[in-house]
Amino acid sequence: MNLTLQRCLIHADREAIVRCPSCGNYFCRECITEHEQKFLCSSCLQRVTPRAEPANWNAAWLMSIVKMMVGIAVAWFFFYLIGQTLILIPPNVHDGGYLRSLGQ
C-alpha cells in the first residue's frame, strides 16, 4: 500500500509518514518515536518498554543492603583478625622489653 496515500491513525487530517512495524498502523511524525533504531507508535512503545516494578525496586535495594552488610562484615572480620594478631604478640614486644633482654 502506498504510504503517501495513508493518514495518521490518531490524527485523520494528517499525512502518515511511517508505518509502525509492530502493529502495522500508519502514524504522523508526532505520533511516532524511535526506539532501538526502530520507529514505534506510543502504544507499542509502552508495550515493549519494561516498567520498573516497585517490588523489583525494593528487592534491588534490599539486595544492596544485604551486600553492604556482607561487605561491612568482611571488613570487620579483617580488622578483628588484625586485633587478635596484635593481642597474640607478647607485651614485651610492644614495649621493647625483648630488645632490652637481648642486650643484657
Binding site: G71, I72, G83, L86
Partner: protein, 267 residues
C-alpha cells in the same frame, strides 16, 4: 590517548594531574583517609596495650570497619573530581541517589580486596590486575552495574604499563616508608641534641621496633602513595574508555580551542 606511554611517563602525567587538581580532591581524600587512619591507630594501640583488649576487640573492629567504608565512599568522590580535572566532564556525584548507590557498591566490593589481594600476592603475577581492578572500581564509582565488569576490562588493558607502574609505586612506597621511619626515629633525638628536650622517647630506642609504630607508618606511607595511584588509574580509565568513545579526541580539540585547558588534556 597514547598507548605507547611508559610507566614512568604515566606517573609523571599523574603527578601533573595532581598538581593541577582543585583543592576539593585533596579535601575529599583527607576527609576519608584521616578519620580511618585515626581509627586504625586507636584500634592498634588499644589492642597492643589495653589490659582488656580481648573483650574490646570485636566492638572496636566495628568502628574501624565503618571508618573504612566511609573512606571508600569519599575516595570515589575524590576520583570523580580528578576525572573532572582530567576530562572536564562534570559528573553529578553529589546527588543523594548517586552517592548512596556509589557507597553501597563500594562497601559491597572493596572489603573483598582485603582477602583477594593477599591471595593474588601469593601467586605474584595477578596482583597488578587485582589491584588495578579495585582502583578502577574506585575511579568508575560503581553507580552503574556495568562498572564492575568495566573495571576488570580496564584492569587488563596495557599490562606492561600496569606492571611497570606497580613496580615503581611499590619501590616509591618503600622509600616513603623508610623516610617516615627515619624522621620519626630521629626527631626526638634531634630535639634532645639541639634544644635539650628529653622525654621517654629519648631514654630508650626500643620503641622504634614497636609493631604499632610500624603499622602506623606503613599505613601513612600507603595512603601517601595511594593518591598518586588513584591519579594514575584515573588517567588509565579515561584513556581506556576513550578507545570506544573517542572522548580523548574531543578533549584535544577543546584544548586547541581553549589554550587554558591545554595543560590538562592528554598530549
Amino acid at each position: 590517548m597514547r598507548t605507547d606511554r611508559t610507566g614512568l611517563v604515566l606517573i609523571e602525567e599523574a603527578v601533573q594531574l595532581l598538581r593541577t587538581a582543585p583543592v576539593t580532591v585533596f579535601a575529599l581524600y583527607c576527609g576519608g583517609t584521616v578519620p580511618f587512619l585515626l581509627a586504625l591507630f586507636s584500634f592498634c594501640t588499644e589492642m597492643s596495650y589495653s589490659r582488656d583488649a580481648g573483650a574490646k576487640c570485636a566492638a572496636s573492629a566495628v568502628l574501624v570497619a565503618l571508618a573504612y567504608c566511609w573512606m571508600k565512599g569519599l575516595e570515589v568522590f575524590c576520583c570523580r573530581e580528578l576525572v573532572r580535572a582530567y576530562t572536564g566532564n562534570v559528573d553529578r556525584w553529589w546527588e543523594p541517589k548517586t552517592m548512596l548507590s556509589i557507597w553501597s557498591r563500594q562497601i559491597a566490593f572493596q572489603p573483598l580486596g582485603f582477602f583477594i589481594r593477599p591471595l593474588a600476592w601469593l601467586l605474584l603475577f595477578p596482583v597488578t590486575y587485582v589491584s588495578a581492578f579495585f582502583q578502577n572500581l574506585t575511579v568508575l564509582g560503581g553507580a552503574s552495574r556495568k562498572d564492575v565488569r568495566k573495571s576488570w576490562e580496564l584492569a587488563r588493558l596495557w599490562p606492561a604499563q600496569n606492571h611497570t607502574v606497580y613496580g615503581l609505586l611499590s619501590l616509591l612506597a618503600l622509600i616513603v616508608f623508610l623516610d617516615l621511619y627515619v624522621v620519626t626515629f630521629s626527631t626526638p633525638f634531634i630535639l634532645k641534641t639541639l634544644l635539650g628536650i628529653e622525654g621517654s622517647l629519648t631514654r630508650s630506642y626500643t620503641w622504634i621496633f614497636s609493631p604499632v609504630l610500624i603499622i602506623a607508618l606503613a599505613a601513612v606511607a600507603h595512603f601517601i602513595i595511594d593518591l598518586l595511584a588513584k591519579a594514575i588509574h584515573v588517567i588509565r580509565c579515561c584513556d581506556g574508555e576513550s578507545q570506544a568513545t573517542g572522548a580523548d579526541l574531543l578533549r584535544r580539540l577543546n584544548s586547541l580551542r581553549n589554550p587554558e585547558g591545554a595543560l590538562r588534556a592528554p598530549k
